[in-house]
Symmetry: C2
Subunit: 342 residues, 2 copies
C-alpha cells in the first residue's frame, strides 16, 4: 500500500484550484488529508473534494505545518512569498504560477516530456505555462525523431486561462451585445466577445508579450535544448475553455506526416485526430473537460527542407494546469520524491 | 466630367453584394444605372442603393446587354458560367469568386499592390481571397524594402466571410448554448460558437485546405514573385466580422520594426496601430465597418537572420471583398480600361 500524503491546494477556490481538487479525487491521488487554502475572503467556504467537502482556510505562514505536498495556483505574488515558506517547513511545492519556472534550481516539468528533471528538485517544482505544456507534449516525439530546429506558433487561447472572472466577462459581454448595449471590458483591456485580442500577459520591451516569451523560454527548458528556436504570437479568442495552437515546425531531418502521425499516436497523453475526409481535427469544445493533447491537421510545409504544420488542442485548465500538476505529484510519488531534500 | 457607367452587381442580395452596393454609392462611383442581379428567388426584391432603391432581377444570359461593368459575388459556379457571357457581351467583369483567379489571362488585383496588372486584362479581372488581400497590402512595402523570402501565416477568420447564413448560425448557436441546448451546426461542419475550426473551404490531397492553398498561390501571383514561399493555416473563429492574421515574415535584408512601422505608415490603405503602452493593436471589432488594413504587434523575430512578426486585421467584407472590387473598378475607370479588348 502506497504512502498517503497530506496535500494542500493553494488558491483552492479559483478556476485551476477547483480543477486541482477534482483531478486529485478523480485520479485517486493517495491523500490522507486535503487542506484547502485561499485568501481571507474565501475562508470558511465549503469546497467539494470527491464526495466530501473541505472547509477553506486562510493562507498563512503556518499553513504548511505537517503538509507533505502543496499545489499552488494563486498567482505569482502568492507563490513568490509562500512557496519558500512551504518548502522550508518540509512541504514539496508544485507551483502553477510563472514565479519559479525559469529559476535554474527549479525543475519545469511535463511528465511525458522531461520526467528525469524531477530527480533534481530541491522542494519547488514548477508547472509550465498552459500554452507551452500542450505544445511540448506534441513536439517531443517529433524532436526525438527528427530534431526540431525552429517553431513558429500562433495561439488561440480560451478565456478560462485568465480565470473564472474572464469566463463570466465573456458570457456577460455576449448578453450585453445581444441587448444592443456596449460590451463593457473589465478583465481584458478590450471587448473579448466576438473579437480576438493579440495580447496575453504584459508587454515586454521588445514588443512581445510575457506569454509569448514564456513559450520561448519554457519550451527550451522543458525540451532541454537551449538551441531550439521558438517564436510565438499569443492571442485570446472568445472560446470558453480549450486552447488551440497553429504550430509550424522546421526539422533537421525528414519526417513525413504519416511518420509524425504514427509517432504521435504512440505517445502517451496524445490523441491524433486527423482525417480530413470525415472532417476530423482537434476542436476546443471537444477537448474541453478531457485529459489528452489532441493533434491534427498534420501536413508538410513545403516552404522549408523539412517542415510540418500541426494543429494542437488541449484543455488548458486540465493538461495546461491542474492535470499536469497532479501528474507531477504522481511522478514524485512514484519516484519517492515527495520530501524536501536537506 | 467623367464617364458614367451602367454597372451590374451579380449576387446583389448577399453579404458581399450588399457591401458592393453600399461601397459603390459611398465612393461615388460614376454610375448612370445600377442593375441588381441575383437568383430567381430574389427577383423583385427592392434593394438599397444610396438613397434610392433598385428592383432585383433574375440573373440570365441576356442580363449584361448594355452593361459596362459587372461586379460578381455569387459563388464560383455562377462566375464560371456567367463571367464569359458578360465579357462576350462587352461587359468588363470584376469577379469576387475563386473561379478565375489563377487563370494566367486574368489579372488578380489589389490596387495598392499590383495596379499595373490591370492594363493587361481581357475582360475578366479577379478579386483575390479576403485573407490574401489584407496580407499582401501589409507585405508589399516590406517586400519592396527588404524582399520577403518566406511567410508563415495563421488566420483568425470571421464568420461573415462565409456569408449571411453563417452570421445567423453564430448568433443562433450562442442562443442555443445560453438556453442549455446543443448548438446545432448547419453551415459549418462543427459548432462555431465559442470554438475554433481549423477548416475553411474544402480539403486538398496534401492535407491543406483550398483556403490555405489560395493564400499561397494568390500571394505569389499578386506580388509577382513565384519564388515567394508561403505556408498558411486558416482558422474560423467566432467573430462576426473582421479577419485577423498572425504573420511571420523572413526577409532577405534587415528591416527593423521601426523601419517597418515607418514604411507601413506611409502606405495608402494601411493604418499602423502599434503602441503596447496604450494597449493599441489592431482589433477585428474596430476594423469591422472600416476600409483600412490595420497592422500592429510589429516586432523582431530573432529566430531567423531577418525576421518580423505582424498582426494584420481588416474588414473581410470591405477591403477583403467589396471595397477591393470597387477600388479595382475605380482603377479601371482612371485608366480608361472599362471596355473589353477586341
Amino acid at each position: 500500500m502506497s504512502t498517503q500524503y497530506r496535500v494542500a491546494v493553494v488558491g483552492a477556490t479559483g478556476a485551476v484550484g477547483q480543477e486541482m481538487r477534482r483531478t486529485l479525487a478523480r485520479l485517486n491521488f493517495p491523500i490522507s488529508d486535503l487542506v484547502c487554502l485561499a485568501s481571507a475572503k474565501s475562508a470558511g467556504k465549503e469546497l467539494d473534494f470527491g464526495t466530501a467537502t473541505v472547509t477553506c482556510q486562510e493562507l498563512r505562514e503556518d499553513s504548511f505545518k505537517g503538509v507533505d505536498l502543496a499545489l499552488f495556483s494563486a498567482g505569482g505574488a502568492v507563490s513568490t512569498r509562500f512557496a519558500p515558506i512551504a518548502r522550508d517547513s518540509g512541504c514539496v511545492v508544485v507551483d502553477n504560477s510563472s514565479a519559479w519556472r525559469m529559476d535554474p534550481s527549479v525543475p519545469l516539468l511535463v511528465p511525458e516530456v522531461n520526467p528525469q528533471d524531477a530527480d533534481r528538485h530541491s522542494g519547488i517544482i514548477a508547472n509550465p505555462n498552459c500554452s507551452t505544456i500542450q505544445m511540448v507534449v506534441a513536439l517531443k516525439p517529433l524532436h526525438d525523431a527528427a530534431r526540431i530546429t525552429r517553431v513558429v506558433v500562433s495561439t488561440y487561447q480560451a478565456v478560462s486561462g485568465t480565470g473564472a472572472k474572464a469566463m463570466a466577462e465573456l458570457r456577460r459581454q455576449v448578453e450585453e451585445l445581444q441587448r444592443g448595449t456596449d460590451a463593457r471590458p473589465e478583465v481584458y483591456p478590450h471587448q473579448i466577445a466576438f473579437n480576438c485580442l493579440p495580447h496575453i500577459d504584459v508587454f515586454l520591451d521588445d514588443g512581445s508579450t510575457k506569454e509569448e516569451q514564456k513559450m520561448v523560454d519554457e519550451t527550451r527548458k522543458i525540451m532541454g535544448d537551449s538551441t531550439l528556436k521558438v517564436t510565438a504570437t499569443c492571442v485570446r479568442v472568445p472560446v470558453c475553455n480549450g486552447h488551440s495552437e497553429s504550430v509550424n515546425v522546421e526539422l533537421a531531418e525528414d519526417l513525413s506526416p504519416q511518420e509524425a502521425r504514427a509517432l504521435l499516436s504512440a505517445t502517451p497523453g496524445v490523441i491524433v485526430e486527423d482525417d480530413p475526409a470525415t472532417q476530423l481535427y482537434p476542436l476546443a469544445i471537444r477537448a474541453s473537460g478531457t485529459d489528452p493533447v489532441y493533434v491534427g491537421r498534420i501536413r508538410r510545409d513545403p516552404t522549408v527542407t523539412h517542415g510540418l504544420n500541426l494543429w494542437v488542442v488541449a484543455d488548458n485548465l486540465l493538461k495546461g494546469a491542474a492535470l499536469n500538476a497532479v501528474q507531477i505529484a504522481q511522478l514524485l510519488d512514484q519516484r519517492g520524491l515527495i520530501r524536501v531534500p536537506r
